[in-house]
Amino acid sequence: MSNNNADVILKVEELKMYFPIYRGVFQRQVGAVRAVDGVSFNVYRGETLGLVGESGCGKSTVARTILQLYKATDGNVYFENVELMKLRGEELRQMRRKMQMIFQDPYASLNPRMTVEQIVGEPLIVHSAATGKEVQERVEHLLELVGLNPAFATRYPHEFSGGQRQRIGVARALALQPSFIVCDEPISALDVSIQAQVVNLLEELQEQFNLTYLFIAHDLSMVRHISRHVAVMYLGVIVELTTRDELYLNPLHPYTQALLSAVPVPDPEVDVQHKRVILEGDVPSPANPPSGCRFRTRCPIAESICAESRPEFREVKPGHFVACHLVK
């Protein structure tokens, strides 16, 4: 990216993650699901990168591969200038303290048989960051940070509402004082009336601790509120990456344009006026993606060149990257 003087905390280069498909009695590998197929981007310290796309396009796989929860097929991930793929054992474990994750479903990501204190305190104990009485104090402090009453520490997850549960998930992610947090659709399971609560909390914490977020979502309007840069993914590749304002005002890739036009406006009058690009069909299978540009099968402006070669992910304007043959 052009902005060289900014502090790059995470650098992802040509990341690939293929999941093998096995068939037959001998479990021979017959193919691969190309969940992530050559993704590169930078994340700057203290900012939020939004990652958007339809389900099944590989957003979560990118995040998990970065966190070394999967062993990447190819590519490099540098976190604070350390090459994560080369780390093993204790070194990797120490690195994990700095990279945490907030999960999508606050109903499924908290163990129902553990109290809040055990849930939030577990990372501290696992990483020997605190012992005995200290754990309890840290947990109370963390609960206060996320706006929960510390007296709730002895309660179980089922005693909380969805928004409160997601706060518990945030407190757990903060326990080891990480510098980078992956937020994997943290609000999509919540009612719209409380989504802003969680987003505001994440923003406050970011300011307070200079946190860096990778914010995964399919809700473009919420991403606009929290991100500085936004990357749009389609079928395992990033098709467009630029600053938030540039993306929303001047989307160049036809897929981004379609996504933006599909965002509903809660006003019937406005809705009638704005023109929608409706894409027909479904996302093709990542086990057998189309040749050339992966979006061409649904693209309203596709030409013959789109089937022949894969479009290069290039900078068409300063800070505006697009993978499309037809964007000048």
Binding site: V192, Q195, A196, L220, S221, A258, P264, P266, P268, L279
Partner: protein
């Protein structure tokens, strides 16, 4: 007797309580609304405020632990609440109104071909032969935009959006005048959502079907809505014409709900409603929204009446 001829559906004082060991869950507690032919009403509210129970009460799809179930539901002027279960099954469900259940895409039988599943209600409720029913299913597939060669496929061979369309086709096959859609798009992607709503709009235009759309997705619902009803803690707190409602909701709850929707093309930050909806077991005697309401005053200690204002109805003391 008052005739309800011009109304397709009229719901009066509908009550559905569930018995539990800790007390009655007042999921639907005196709901009134009506709908004219070829219109769509959207029922909006947070989770746990009784929206799905309202759908079940209208279609009489009740679980075993029903406590109180009363009120009137007029369909084309006939009080269908007076029917016994068998009459209701024969004359109302599927034929008069049908349901697209929540997570409809997962409600298909995995071991039966989708064409046969769509044809089944037609065979049972319209008494037609299988061949004719399959023919009807084929027509419905065309209406909802599923390729007709999908008739012989199994649900797992279809994507989520296609399965949702199949579920809608199944609700349409008996040509009911009203379809109740319970969260039809909440598990689907943005682009698929837009496609499903286009299908619904087309059906409304081509077949003249009316819809009750139950959802918490305010922004998407505005596309189809003619009327809006806001539900909170088992009651309807505001009803009105969609064109009037969306730019200027009246009830404080509706206003806050609208303000919490993130806007793509506006710079104001979305807001949130503090607290959560009350438990439906021990409901306060005051206005049910009062504990979370920023505009509450002394009068809110009492249950507010429904007040008519410019053709809209709102249950709030602010307008008394």
């Amino acid at each position: 007797m008052v005739t309800n001829n011009e109304k397709l559906l009229k719901v009066e004082k509908l009550v559905l309580h569930f018995r539990t060991t800790v007390g009655a869950v007042q999921a639907v507690d005196g709901v009134d609304f009506s709908l004219t032919s070829n219109r769509a009403v959207v029922i909006l509210g947070e989770s746990g405020c009784g929206k799905t129970s309202l759908a079940k009460a209208i279609l009489r799809l009740l679980p075993r632990n029903v406590g109180e179930y009363s009120g009137k539901v007029y369909l084309n002027g006939t009080d269908v609440m007076a029917f016994n279960d068998e009459e209701f099954r024969q004359n109302v469900r599927w034929v008069g109104m049908s349901l697209v259940p929540q997570a409809a895409m997962n409600s298909l039988n995995p071991v039966i071909r989708v064409g046969d599943q769509v044809a089944e209600p037609a065979m049972i409720h319209l008494g037609v032969k299988k061949e004719e029913a399959l023919n009807l299913a084929k027509q419905m597939f065309q209406h909802v935009g599923v390729p007709v060669d999908f008739l012989v496929r199994y649900p797992f061979e279809l994507s989520g959006g296609m399965r949702q369309r199949v579920a809608i086709a199944m609700a349409l096959v008996t040509s009911p005048s009203l379809i109740v859609l319970d969260e039809p798009t909440s598990a689907l992607d943005l682009l698929t959502q837009a496609n499903i709503f286009n299908v619904l709009k087309r059906i409304k235009k081509e077949l003249g079907t009316s819809f009750i759309l139950i959802t918490h997705d305010i922004a998407t619902s505005s596309e189809l809505a003619d009327e809006v009803a806001i539900m909170y803690a088992g009651q309807i707190v505001e009803t009105g014409n969609a064109k009037q409602f969306f730019p200027a909701p009246l009830h404080p709850y509706a206003q806050m709900l609208m303000a919490s929707v993130p806007r793509l093309r506006a710079d104001q930050d979305p807001e949130f409603i503090t607290g959560q909806p009350p438990s439906l077991i021990n409901l306060p005697t005051s206005c049910r929204f009062a504990p979370r309401c920023p505009k509450r005053f002394e009068k809110c200690e009492q249950d507010p009446p429904v007040i008519e204002k410019e053709g809209r109805k709102v249950k709030c003391w602010l307008y008394a």
